[in-house]
Symmetry: C2
Amino acid sequence: MERAVVLLSGGLDSATTLALARREAASCHALTIDYGQRHRAELEAARRVAQSLGATEHRVARFDLSWIGGSALTDPAITVPTRPGEGIPVTYVPARNTVFLALALSWAEVLDARAIYIGVNAVDYSGYPDCRPAFIEAFNRVAEVATRAGVEGRGTAVRAPLIDLSKAEIIRVGSELGVDFGLTLSCYDPDEAGRACGVCEACRLRGQGFAAAGLADPTRYRGVTR
Amino acid sequence: MERAVVLLSGGLDSATTLALARREAASCHALTIDYGQRHRAELEAARRVAQSLGATEHRVARFDLSWIGGSALTDPAITVPTRPGEGIPVTYVPARNTVFLALALSWAEVLDARAIYIGVNAVDYSGYPDCRPAFIEAFNRVAEVATRAGVEGRGTAVRAPLIDLSKAEIIRVGSELGVDFGLTLSCYDPDEAGRACGVCEACRLRGQGFAAAGLADPTRYRGVTR
């Protein structure tokens, strides 16, 4: 049994990932990045999820990416789309998962954690390049050579246990592990009370996932007709 | 001619790297990370160097790594050593160059910059794992698959033009390109006026480099007997 760093956004994928990591690791150190995201309500969701699932500790670290911009999630001038488009959507945040895994790798080395869990998924997903197996494989090679721990043979492996699961499968796995999805927030454009818009890409994938899983969707929507 | 992001610490290696990038790129966007380092005077050195060498813009971004700790450069409780030791020194900051390159990659994508320059060196260096060719190669693979630009064939390559040079060679190259090394700061433990200690690993490598290059060392030392 080893220590693990778990990247926790507050959405349903990372909540399920934390629940899986809790079964496999001796202790789970949850890391949430406050990167200047539009949907800041997810930070509160992450706090609720970390507590609910028994993370050993939960760190919300501020690493502002909003000055870089280039995404609807970090630039208020870019609108969150309400219909699926072509290619990689404007909600893609440039190199975000590379930044997140780099920070997790740094913390993992100090904690002597041998695993980093990340809830990326390449089935029912938005087509973000840094959610694909090729990205995880490439980052794992970085983790082998970048750190003292790697050089000394105590390296840290990135685990993406959801990568081949459909959204419905993720929801079923999470349910079986006791994840309270009512605590999670997936929406890119929630209101100040943390209620979901119901029409963005993240809400759409989430809603379809609950329907396909045959489970009730506990999401609090803000009353928009869907 | 392309745009480039140049990681600029304020030391002599990154100053020389910026001078090299200025010859090769249409515009150089210098990035300095305020990560909570002990030697904060290097941030001012970076500003002087960026201006002196004609960077198109210079961004000092705050990404605090001091809560992670694990290094003499970010944890005040760990002393900067004054004598060389065995193995990777305590001045190694866990996964620091992975974090720095991840941020540079994010900014490069928004700038549509095709190159990231980093002044790492694996000859006269402190043995940090993330200064070696294997690390740069591994990160380049991440850069190919992590971003929209990479997927669309407009990827960003990491360039480490100093990696095979001795410190004396770096100093000679920089001198030929007009770098004013008096503006740079290498010391890990400078005083508040930005004067170097003269006895840390970084000062030692720098002093030996000027001696081997046969050039006068313009460093302002704080009067400690060396």
